[in-house]
Amino acid sequence: MEHAFKVDLRGIIDLLSNHLYSDPSVFVRELLQNGVDAITARHNRGDTFEPEITVRLVLPEQDGLPMLEFQDNGIGLSEAEVHEFLATIGRSSKRISEARDTFLGQFGIGLLSCFMVSGEIELVTQSADGGPPVRWLAQADGTYTLEVLPQADAAQPGTTVRLRAREDTDFYFDYDELSSALANYGAILPYPVQISDGQQFQHVNAVTPPWLAYADGDPAAKEAVLTYAREKLRLEAVDVIALRSEEGGIRGVALVLPYSTQASSHQWHQVYLKRMLLGSDVRNLLPDWAFFVRCLLNVDSLHPTASRESFYEDDALTAARTSLDTQLRLYIEHLALHDAPRLDALIALHHLPIKALAIDNDEFFRLLAPAFEFETSTGRLKLGRYLDQSGPIRMVTNLDQFRQIAQVASAYGHSVINAVYTYDAPLLRKYSSLMGRELEEVDAQSYALSLEDVLTGGLDDFLARADAALATLDCQVSVKRFEPADLPALLIVTEELRQLGDIEAAREVADELFSEFLDDYEAEYEAEYERVRLARLHLNLNNPLVQDLLHLHDSAVFTRLIQMLYVQAHLLGHHPLRGQELKLLGEGLGDMMRWGIRATHPSTLN
């Protein structure tokens, strides 16, 4: 019998085709899901049978378009049930998620999604409860016919869906495309999924990936998981972590990546919902800091969004995320307690996420902090080693200033940490506050001021002449005694002065409009940094050359020597040389070369 136009399907077809899914190939997933649900329902009914999901690709004759047959031997539908799914769809045209709440509703949604790739859908279904088979034929414009077919003896329950490609969708009906889509979505489905096109045949999920077994607690499966990662995912995972969570019904693994990643890089985790692939880049399930692992997870009880492409943000998801967070953390803590070399390797590769975690979690921090490595003025040291020395933790948070201080600090046996790298400073501050160890945040200026003062009583004249030598360079001279004795001078330049230098560099090339902006910034900085505007050159009275300078009276030579010490201090302290310094270097060397020649070859001078 034909029933036409009872329910208007146009609305929902439009919704499914145009607004819900990111990609038409999800129709494969939808048909698979219907097959799986049908077989499960038939099992639950008590039937014993060999479950089968078969996809048959019928290639076109001459000029035709390919056709696809999707068959399962699940519970099937009766005529009444077909009417019911249509009615459910008709009612739920606004809320897909509502429709998916029932078996028939989900069936209908899944079926209608096929209109994304096919102009026509044919459904032939035989209910396990008996009765005649039913044929439903629907068009993309929303019209359909429904007929009851003659009842056969010993009819097998099941459903067959037939689709024919349109001109613009024939590539979805390609054997390789289809089999990889089926393999992708159905890799861990519990029922066999097979595809053939008359010449080729494949049982796409013949081999179950080993990671579920490992998650279930089979330690022997670990090697298999690593091999699987290497061969199927092209990933040389460093380690495998089993993940199991009551919250969300989660089982799976985290593969530790063999290369460093960043928070900003794309986290992709392969997540299955009730054994069907949900997505390969599900982002909101793992905690933010987990960007150093790739997870393969099966989730049984979280709620997907209407498109089934991600999870709905609800309390269940939050609880699941918290549980996964704990497990990943426990893995790292376990390494800290039982496998130091592996922990070191992990930190070396993935120090950023681990440090981020340590800052947020006190327990984790206490366990891991001694293993973190820092750059110090006495080489790279683990915090544990560094703390073996007495005295406060000394750190510099400015790259520039670290270099300035490093020259002198080591001579005094002070090891200063270069805490300019991400998380270093917060970690050290946390250590200090948590463990009660004193922390000194050293800045170059105050460090220099703490060096041994020299009574400048007899040196006023010397200092005045030295200042004059550097008058055009915004630099003031002072005299100190410090180690190492072979370092004649220490140049301390504040960050603020550097900023002003940056403005100067920009001003050299900027146009009128931008110069106005630069003027404003310069005025702002100068007002703010009044006190620290000048750079300081600290001459070292322990150094023989500086001692000689005290007795030097030739003013031209004295001036040049002070200027050369100024430039040398730049080089030794890794200060950038700007135009002025380069010019000074050229002129100064020139003068000194001439004096040298004159002193040794008086007659050959130019």
């Binding site: 928070a263 790298y421 920009a506």
Partner: protein, 365 residues
Amino acid sequence: MQTFEELMALAEQQDPPEGAIPFLEQAVRLADTQQNRSAAFRARKELVQAASFGGFPDKALIHFAWLLGTFDRHRAEFQGQSYMMLWMYKWILSSAAENPAFPLPRLKKLEADFERRTREYGSGAHYLAYHRLMLAKQIGDQEQAQAAFLAWRSLPRDGLSDCEACEQNKVMGYYAWRGNHQAAAQLGQDIISRGMSCHNVPTVTHANLLRPLTALGRHEEARHAHTEGLRLARLDRHFIDTIADHLRYLTAQGQHRQALGVWSEHLGLALGVRNLVDRFEFLAASAALWAGLPETEAVTLTLPRTFALFRTDQTYLPGRLADYFRQEAAALARRFDERNGTGQFMWRLRQETEVELAGRQRAGE
């Protein structure tokens, strides 16, 4: 001594963008010393980006000025950088507008310069139209904003337009600003359900949804937007104004304990933020938060030592803090209003704090 390439590589390894800044600055200065113009250009490009997204608009502009000047003087060498220069110019345009130290006539000159360059390059006027909308919103001129909005929407997208996610987010932001809650909620939910994303989206989207959803009585959805939005924006200097929105939501919902938790967690960060619009938003939200608490009932909180009213006994009187933040916010508000020639910022501040005060008084003082 690290080489230029080593510094650039180190910069890349730091996380997030602001961690890279010290390394990039060193690289710039080193390249300058070596008089290597192309290296200096390359390092400054990275620095302008890191500074723009790391919350240092001053550094971004200073180094951009060098880039633009160098670009102009050496067209042959840097011709291939035209598109990148214009893209960066967008960031500079918007951050300049958010600095009250710069007078309006100069901002107009900047706009004109940008327009001239985009025309020369052959690109369209789409972004500039949006920029004018942004400025009109800041000034609080509803008519001008509406005209700018229509002008912007009528122009086709071009190579300099922001990504689709940003664009939709901006449209949503405009409707929210106009008080059209339905449209704003619709657009925002669409962004989220479609999984659109870029640097700002959907972090900002979630926050933008808070007021419309609450106004529409969709409280459960608003709660989700708050939970997810806060998770995304947390402890990121770039999103301090978004955090302010979340604070306002919590304050309005009467969830003062949670609000104080989020607030104290972000105070240190917020006090160091250089973008003055963002800082104003945080200060205003702070004033409203403290104004909503019983004036003389002390609150115990761990706050950073850098806070002006820091106390070693960790107890704070809401009355004092409300007054303090009101003053700080008002100081900033006055600077903006003076530059813009309107009373928009002071008006907003008054609105916000008075609502809370009234609420507190209603709650039975």
